[in-house]
Each structure stands twice: as structure tokens, then as C-alpha cells.
């Protein structure tokens, strides 16, 4: 499909009406859960190739090529920010976090310490020399190499000796030199990161966490945290002896899916609620509350680190998938933030989770104009930042079944999404009829 320059998007919007609200014309680049959710949404119709639209669940490739050539009407929404990669590319995320940390250092030590949630990381080849210095200072450390432009565990490897990486460097240059003849491409950029060798283990297995954060605006920063998410277990037992066995070290579902004994029905996952219960049973309520408090710090600080850089645009929103690792000291580490978290479901439970997540995302984006804009909870999303921390109201119905956090976050807590939505929309309806 070729888009002509400065195409106007969302023009004939006003004319069509469906009951209460206008018909919303959507496009969707993905053929999985999000497609199902959009198609099933009342009053929404899919627009065909080349037709005008009001809402586009686009991929980042489309965004790159077209964003600068379109003009969107007021109401139109798309699911990425123009330069989302400032947060979602591994090297840039670290760069931005390092900068924020420096800034905060000038203000106060304790504030900057709150940024200590990413493992020591360098970009290669650009920071090769600083890395080598650091490498020599930390003998015996295991390092992990990740290509910045790939995902789902592709291209990742671990090493202990500098020799391994020198070999890789040579090979990398050679391979890339050959390619360059045709394509004049740069050397593939990697990050090298301290490998977290003491992950928290359950049943002897390593896992990482996938948590969803929705940003509807960067200026002012407005971010929502989804209550549900999951822990992904690596199938095999964890041991540092088998450094080549990427099944053990990588917990991506995509990697686990190719493991010989992977059972798709089981999915190697725990819900955040299950994890919370386990950790509470083991360490007690307070310790766990502290873990979840660290979580809030990670979300807020990482978003703040790019707040001034991301091109804010009222048409854009973004649903991020955070990859977080818990270590055996119950400290959390941010591994990466994904702009396009996998929306493919591995089993029924996973499907239900993702459908709920996406429906609630659409509820908050609110193309239909049903909300007042002052909501603190919509479905399983809790508003965690609104130009400043959002505090939980004491004694509100939201706090029922949730601990009385200072902040309005309920990760892994009791959730009753459907009931909350019913209540919310009923009360909105009542307000409307009272007003009209």
C-alpha cells in the first residue's frame, strides 16, 4: 500500500452514527488477539485496504514509514509514539536511564539510587573500550550479549572470557563487511550486560516477569498499570555450569516454545497473582509489599527517563511490555521494555489475559467517549501516575481486596475486572441520564 503525501486520516468521521456513538473505523496490522478484540467491539468496523480509518493498531515498521506523511484528525488514535524506541531499544533505554541517574545524582543520592534497577550495560561496538576496562575490573563475571534490533531471545549469548567476544567481533565485522558491499549497513549494534547470576528460583527454575504498562500521554505523563501479568519459567533447572544452554538462561516464551519438552498447553507460566501468593507464603506480606514497591519505581523512573525525549502526540498511546527479573535477594532488575509485547496467546488462560488487557486498553483510549477522564481504575488498569503519583483512596471500593498502598497500584492483587467495568459503566450511564 502506498500512502500519498500528507494524507488526511479520519475525515468523514462525523457522518456515521451507530446508536449512541459514531461508528469507529479501525485497521489492525496483527492477526491475533488484538484482531479478535477489535472485531468484536460493538460499533467498530474494520476498514479495508486504502480506506480511511479512525484507529490503527499499527506495527512499528508502518509507523516509521508513514507517520511523517499523514495528518490525523483530532479524534484519531494509533498505538505507538513516533520515537518509542528511545525506551524500547535496549541500548537507548540504558542511555536514557544513565542520564536520568546522573541528573538525579546532582539533586540527591537517595533519589538516584532509585535508578539502580538495570544491570551494568554497554553498547557495542561504540563503548567497547569502556567495557573492556569494566570487564577487567570484574573478573569471573558472566556477561550477556544481546543484539539491540532483535527480540524474543534471538542472537543472545553468554560469555566469560574476553576472547569469546573478540572472536565474535572479528566474525561480526567480517560478516557485516560482506553485507556492506551490497547494503552499506553498519556493524550490528549489541549491548553487553552483566548477567544476573543469582535469579530467584522457584522449584529450581528461573523466571522473569512480564508486566503491562499503558501510557496515554507523556506531557503530562499519564501511565496505567495492569493488575495481571505473568511469570515465565524456563523449563529446565537453572545452573551456571551449562552456559551454552540458552533454554535455561532465557525465559522468553518464544525460546521455550522451541525447547524439546515444551508443553504448549501448560505454557510454563504463573499469573502475577499466583506469584504474589507464593512469595507471600514464603516471605511474608511486608517483604512482598516491598518487592512490589520496587516495581513502581521501575515503571515511573523508566518513563521519566524518556519523558522529555519522546515526541508527545495526542494521537498516540502505547502499551509496553516490561521484562523484569527478580534476584535471590528479592531485588528487581529491568531487562527491557517492549513496544510490541507479544499478543499471541499460548493457551486459553493466556488468551483471556490478553483479551482483557486489550479491551481495557481500548476502554481507556475511549474512542467512544464514555469516560469522564477522571477515572482511577478502568477494568484491571489502575492509574499509577498522572503528572505525579496517584494515591489510593482509603476506603474506596477499589481498595476492597487490595492492600492499602500509598500508591494506586495493585499488581498481582485480587482482580475482578468484569465487575469493576460493570460498576463503572453503570455509574457513568446514571450520570448521563441524570444530566440529560
Amino acid at each position: 500500500c502506498t500512502m500519498s503525501k500528507n494524507l488526511r486520516i479520519g475525515r468523514s468521521y462525523q457522518k456515521k452514527l451507530a446508536g449512541d456513538h459514531r461508528i469507529i473505523r479501525f485497521r489492525c496490522a496483527l492477526n491475533n488477539t488484538i484482531g479478535d478484540v477489535l472485531k468484536q467491539r460493538p460499533g467498530w468496523v474494520e476498514s479495508k485496504e486504502g480506506e480511511d480509518w479512525d484507529f490503527y493498531w499499527c506495527d512499528i515498521g508502518w509507523l516509521r514509514e508513514n507517520f511523517d506523511h499523514i495528518y490525523m484528525e483530532e479524534h484519531v488514535r494509533i498505538c505507538h509514539f513516533r520515537n518509542h524506541f528511545e525506551l524500547t531499544r535496549k541500548n537507548l533505554m540504558v542511555k536514557n536511564l544513565k542520564r536520568l541517574k546522573k541528573q538525579l545524582e546532582r539533586e540527591s543520592k537517595s533519589e538516584s539510587a532509585k535508578c539502580d534497577f538495570f544491570p551494568m550495560t554497554y553498547e557495542l561496538p561504540s563503548e567497547y573500550h569502556i567495557f573492556v576496562e569494566e570487564f577487567k575490573k570484574n573478573p569471573g563475571t558472566v556477561w550477556i550479549m544481546k543484539p539491540i534490533a532483535k527480540s524474543q531471545g534471538k542472537g543472545i549469548f553468554l560469555f566469560r572470557r574476553l576472547k569469546d567476544i573478540i572472536d565474535w567481533k572479528k566474525e561480526g565485522y567480517r560478516a557485516n563487511n560482506e553485507e556492506r558491499k551490497e547494503e552499506t549497513k553498519d556493524v550490528e549494534t549489541y549491548i553487553v550486560q552483566r548477567y544476573l547470576g543469582n535469579p530467584y528460583l522457584i522449584g529450581g527454575k528461573k523466571f522473569d516477569l512480564r508486566i503491562y504498562v499503558l501510557v496515554t500521554s507523556y506531557v503530562p505523563l499519564k501511565a496505567w498499570l495492569y493488575r495481571d501479568g505473568f511469570a515465565r519459567f524456563s523449563n529446565a533447572r537453572f545452573t551456571l555450569d551449562s552456559i551454552d544452554d540458552s533454554y535455561v538462561h532465557l525465559t522468553n516464551v518464544a525460546v521455550q516454545k522451541t525447547a524439546p519438552d515444551y508443553d504448549p498447553e501448560k505454557g510454563c507460566k504463573w499469573s502475577l497473582q499466583q506469584l504474589r501468593h507464593y512469595l507471600t507464603a514464603k516471605h511474608g506480606y511486608e517483604t512482598v509489599a516491598n518487592v512490589y514497591q520496587q516495581m513502581n519505581e521501575i515503571f515511573i523512573k523508566s518513563l521519566q527517563s524518556v519523558q522529555k525525549i519522546i515526541i508527545n502526540d495526542k494521537h498516540c498511546f502505547e502499551l509496553y511490555g516490561y521484562d523484569i527479573l527478580l534476584d535471590s535477594n528479592l531485588k528487581l532488575w529491568l531487562l527491557e521494555v517492549n513496544a510490541s509485547p507479544s499478543l499471541t496467546a499460548s493457551n486459553q488462560e493466556d488468551y483471556d489475559l490478553k483479551v482483557g488487557l486489550l479491551e481495557d486498553t481500548l476502554n481507556i483510549i475511549d474512542m467512544e467517549g464514555s469516560l469522564t477522564g477522571n477515572e482511577k481504575r478502568v477494568g484491571n488498569f489502575d492509574l499509577m501516575w498522572n503528572d505525579g503519583p496517584v494515591y489510593a483512596e482509603d476506603g474506596s471500593t477499589d481498595a476492597l481486596g487490595g492492600p492499602s498502598y500509598a500508591t494506586n497500584t495493585y499488581l498481582g492483587c485480587h482482580n475482578d475486572r468484569k465487575r469493576q467495568l460493570n460498576q463503572l459503566f453503570r455509574s457513568l450511564q446514571n450520570k448521563k441520564t441524570a444530566a440529560g
Partner: protein
């Protein structure tokens, strides 16, 4: 009466001293005393009191106390050496017979599976296989052996059939008929269990479980995960810390009665049950592990199968698969488990060396620990994986829980903690607290015990949400009693009564009680024990 008590205590003391004789603890105490004697300050006049006070200050006295307390808990109450051994195991002859028949049946079933599949009961592993197994010891779950031909030796359902057919041949009903012929008409018990055993009345239970009284704050109500009452939580944490620092088993056990704070539970249970994991215990575990590596037993396949059918199938417990093998395979080799048969109606099964069937001198206990796993057996261990992430500690805790409590849940006996008594307590309590509900269920063809039995046999493991299960097991340990299980089962029926009374089919009842994961055990137990 009083003299009887005295002689009982005397017998108990003799027994404990006898048990301590030659134990490691005795050697350790001796060594500690010797050290004291060698001190230059010792005089013969104060020798005795010096040694005693030094054993106190060095902490050995506490360890001795804990050991004695543990033994008191484990030695059967009415120990009397003048009574024949088999009668001490089980005083009632018809119970002994029923258990013996049941054992025969299990053994036969296992042996016929062997013959059918033509696999031996035990096989020495070739060296390379041993090496392989050792290599993947920590991840045995990655193995996917073909187990399609194996079936569990029995399921709780089969066992229920057996215990509900147990009768006392001497027992005649008021009507003068054999009770068996007209069970419905003659019996004052409406349930499936038709043996005349005495079960405690509600008032006795109230006295026994007095800490459930709703005026006392409870772990499981006042500290619910989602909304803890801060003061209670803090108070309990503080006391828990003190109990653990005190290192006194008896205090720890008592503490469990009102529920353990999550963060302290693992340690608290261990102290309450007197489980120590010292270097000897570690050596012992390694030795047992060696036995697993050397021989492949048929029961290993049964254990594999059971873990796959239960825990691995569970979208919560699958994570613990590897741990379960590391516990259950070792368990089957552990001959110290045999000790529990002394105070159980059950006896370890015997197999015979090939070709020597029936010849006593060629018999061996099989499996070596004397316990043949059944469908769901691994669920006794699974919840413990929640608390103990070191396999060895997990192992000893499981072994203790089994030999103290869980073995009673799958053998036929008249013991007040035995499964028959528990079933009877369930039925009689339900019948007396809500006769209308009981009758209704019976009329639609649904004996309540048919639903509750699976809960009882597994001590609710796998049926309740894990935090709830741990709160329940807190009380099993705290009171040293399984009686809490039937009480909870009754409470569940009462709690769902309005729904149950509307249902008109047995399958409907089953459906409505199929999922009890949302229930909270402590308020339910209060409901039945101290209704307001």
C-alpha cells in the same frame, strides 16, 4: 485411674530412654559433658551440677527437651508391653483383617501390573544409566518416559469402597438383624461408614480446639493477604520471632494453633515437628539418593505417573515437578519410614525373591520404605514445596508429616485419627448439625462422604487454595490432630447448604462442590466449632 496414669508415664519414660540410648544425640550429650569434665575448674563435689548447668547454657538441654517432646508426640498413648504387638497396632480383630485384606489386594494389583507389563519390581541400573540419572538429578522432570501403560495401583475411590464395606461381625442392631442386611433401616448412622467407633462430640471438640473461639484473633482471618490488620500481624510476627529464638518445639507447636505468619511458617513447622537437618541427615539423604541411582524400582514409575497426573497437570504446581521426584524417589528407599508401622495398623508389603514365593526367609519389604503410592499420593508433598526450597529440608519435612499424620489417611484402623474415624466424624457431625441436608443429599443419591472423601484422604491438598491449605495444616501441626479435616468438610457442606438443598441430582452436587478454591478455612472452622 491415677496409678494407671503413673504406670503409663513410667512406661513412656522407659520407652523414651530406650530410644535415646545409642542415638547420636546421646553421643553428642556425652561429648559435651566430657568437655565440661576436662575443664580445670571442675571439682568432684560440684561435678554433677556443673555439668547440668553447662548443658543448659550451651543449649544442649533445649535440644534434649525438644527430642523428648517429639518422642512423646510420636509414641502411641497406651503403650503397654503386656499387650501383643499386633493388638497394639490395632486392637480390633475385624479391622486387622480388613487392613490385611486391603494390603493383599494392593500387592496383588501391583504384582499383576508387573506381570502384564513384564517389568521387574526392581532392576539394577547399568553404570551409564546411573551416570545419566545423576547428571539430571535436579531436572528429572525433563524426562518424559512412556508411562501410558502404568496405572495408579488404586485411587481414593477404590479405598472408599473398601472402608465403607467394613463391618463389625459381632455388632447387631437394635432390631436383632445383622446390620448389613438392613443398613438403611436399622442404623442410626445414615452414612456409609457402618462400624461402631466412638467419635468425639461437638462439646469435646470445642474444648480441644478452643483457640478457634472467635473472640481470639486468628491467622487466616485477621491477617488475610489482601487486607491485614496491622496490629495483629505485628504482634504475631513478634511472638513468632521470639518462639523461633527460644528454639522450643512445644512453644512452636502451640503457636501454630492460631496460624503462622507466612514469612515464619517454614521455620515454625520445622521447630514444631522437631526436624533437624544436620550433616548426618545430609549424608543420609545422599546415601538414599545413591540407592535411587543404583536401582530402578517399579514404584518409581508409579511416582512419576502420579506426579505427572497431579502436580504437573496443575497450572500452579507444575513448577515443583523436579523437587517432587527428589523427595518421593528418595522416600521410597528410606527404611526408617518403616518405624511408623509400629504404631499403625498397616504392615509393610512383602515380595519374594523370584521363584521363592511364600518362603518367609526369601521375603523382602517392597518398596523398601513399605509405602505403595496411590493416585494423589504426591500431593502430600507438593504444598511443602511452597515452604522449603532446599530439597533435603523439604524431604525431611515431608517424611515427618507423613509418618506423623498422613499415613493414617490411607490405612484401615480404629485409631481415633484413622481415616475411618475421620469419615465417621464427618458423617455423624453433618447428620447431627444438619439432618435435613443429609437426608436431602441421600434422597438424591449422593452420600456426602462420596464427595468429602477425596478431600479427607489428601488432607485437602490440591483442593484448597495453597495459602488456605497452609493455614489448615498449621492447625494439624498445632493440635497434632487430623480431626480438623472432617470438621472443615462438614463446614463446607453447611456453608453451601442453601445451594445444595436446591440441587436435585448427585452430579449437580458434585459440580457445585467441585471447586472449593475460593473458600477460607478459618472462618469455616469457626462456623462449625463455635457457631454464633
Amino acid at each position: 485411674m491415677a496409678s494407671n496414669n503413673v504406670s503409663e508415664v513410667a512406661a513412656l519414660i522407659t520407652e523414651i530412654i530406650c530410644n535415646l540410648n545409642g542415638s547420636t544425640l546421646q553421643a553428642q550429650l556425652k561429648r559435651a559433658a566430657q568437655k565440661e569434665v576436662e575443664k580445670p575448674t571442675v571439682t568432684s563435689a560440684t561435678l554433677k551440677s556443673d555439668i547440668i548447668s553447662s548443658l543448659k547454657t550451651s543449649g544442649w538441654e533445649k535440644i534434649l527437651r525438644n527430642e523428648i517432646y517429639k518422642q512423646i508426640n510420636c509414641i502411641p498413648k497406651c503403650f503397654d508391653s503386656s499387650i501383643p504387638f499386633e493388638c497394639q497396632k490395632e486392637p480390633l480383630m475385624y479391622m486387622r483383617k480388613a487392613q490385611a485384606n486391603w494390603e493383599k489386594r494392593i500387592l496383588k494389583s501391583m504384582n499383576s501390573m508387573c506381570t502384564e507389563l513384564s517389568i521387574p519390581l526392581a532392576r539394577k541400573r547399568p553404570a551409564d544409566e546411573q551416570r545419566d540419572l545423576l547428571h539430571k538429578w535436579n531436572e528429572m522432570g525433563t524426562d518424559e518416559p512412556d508411562l501410558s501403560h502404568f496405572r495408579p495401583v488404586y485411587a481414593p475411590k477404590d479405598f472408599l469402597e473398601v472402608i465403607s464395606s467394613v463391618r463389625n461381625p459381632n455388632y447387631r442392631s437394635l432390631y436383632g438383624h445383622e446390620s448389613e442386611e438392613y443398613p438403611e433401616v436399622c442404623s442410626e448412622h445414615w452414612g456409609l461408614i457402618q462400624v461402631p467407633l466412638e467419635v468425639p462430640k461437638l462439646t469435646e471438640l470445642q474444648a480441644k480446639f478452643s483457640e478457634f473461639c472467635s473472640s481470639l484473633p486468628q491467622g487466616g482471618i485477621d491477617d488475610s493477604v489482601d487486607a491485614p490488620t496491622e496490629s495483629f500481624q505485628n504482634e504475631r510476627n513478634r511472638i513468632a520471632r521470639r518462639v523461633l529464638d527460644e528454639k522450643r518445639g512445644v512453644l512452636a507447636q502451640h503457636f501454630c494453633r492460631r496460624g503462622c505468619p507466612s514469612g515464619n511458617r517454614a521455620e515454625m513447622w520445622q521447630l514444631a515437628l522437631g526436624v533437624t537437618v544436620d550433616h548426618l541427615a545430609i549424608l543420609k539423604y545422599d546415601q538414599l539418593k545413591g540407592y535411587v541411582l543404583q536401582h530402578d524400582l517399579l514404584v518409581d514409575s508409579l511416582i512419576y505417573k502420579d506426579v505427572k497426573l497431579t502436580s504437573v497437570n496443575d497450572d500452579y504446581y507444575f513448577v515443583f515437578e523436579d523437587y517432587l521426584y527428589q523427595v518421593l524417589l528418595v522416600f521410597s528407599r528410606d527404611t526408617t519410614v518403616l518405624d511408623h508401622f509400629v504404631h499403625s495398623s498397616a504392615s509393610p508389603p512383602k515380595s519374594y525373591i523370584r521363584g521363592k514365593l511364600g518362603l518367609e526367609e526369601f521375603s523382602v519389604i517392597y518398596p523398601p520404605n513399605g509405602v505403595i503410592p496411590f493416585h494423589g499420593f504426591s500431593m502430600y508433598a507438593t504444598p511443602l514445596c511452597y515452604l522449603y526450597s532446599e530439597p533435603i529440608r523439604l524431604y525431611y519435612m515431608f517424611r515427618e508429616m507423613y509418618t506423623r499424620y498422613f499415613h493414617r489417611l490411607h490405612s484401615i484402623s480404629s485409631h481415633p485419627q484413622g481415616i475411618i474415624s475421620l469419615c465417621l466424624l464427618f458423617e455423624s457431625t453433618l447428620q447431627s448439625t444438619h439432618p435435613r441436608l443429609f437426608r436431602h443429599l441421600q434422597e438424591i443419591g449422593c452420600q456426602p462422604l462420596k464427595i468429602a472423601f477425596k478431600w479427607l484422604v489428601r488432607a485437602f491438598s490440591g483442593y484448597l487454595a495453597t495459602e488456605q491449605l497452609l493455614l489448615l495444616w498449621d492447625r494439624i501441626i498445632g493440635y497434632g490432630s487430623l480431626l480438623i479435616l472432617p470438621l472443615l468438610a462438614v463446614a463446607i457442606f453447611l456453608f453451601r447448604q442453601s445451594n445444595l438443598l436446591l440441587i436435585t441430582s448427585a452430579s449437580g452436587v458434585e459440580g457445585s462442590l467441585a471447586d472449593i478454591t475460593t473458600l477460607h478455612v478459618v472462618p469455616l472452622l469457626q462456623l462449625i466449632l463455635f457457631p454464633t
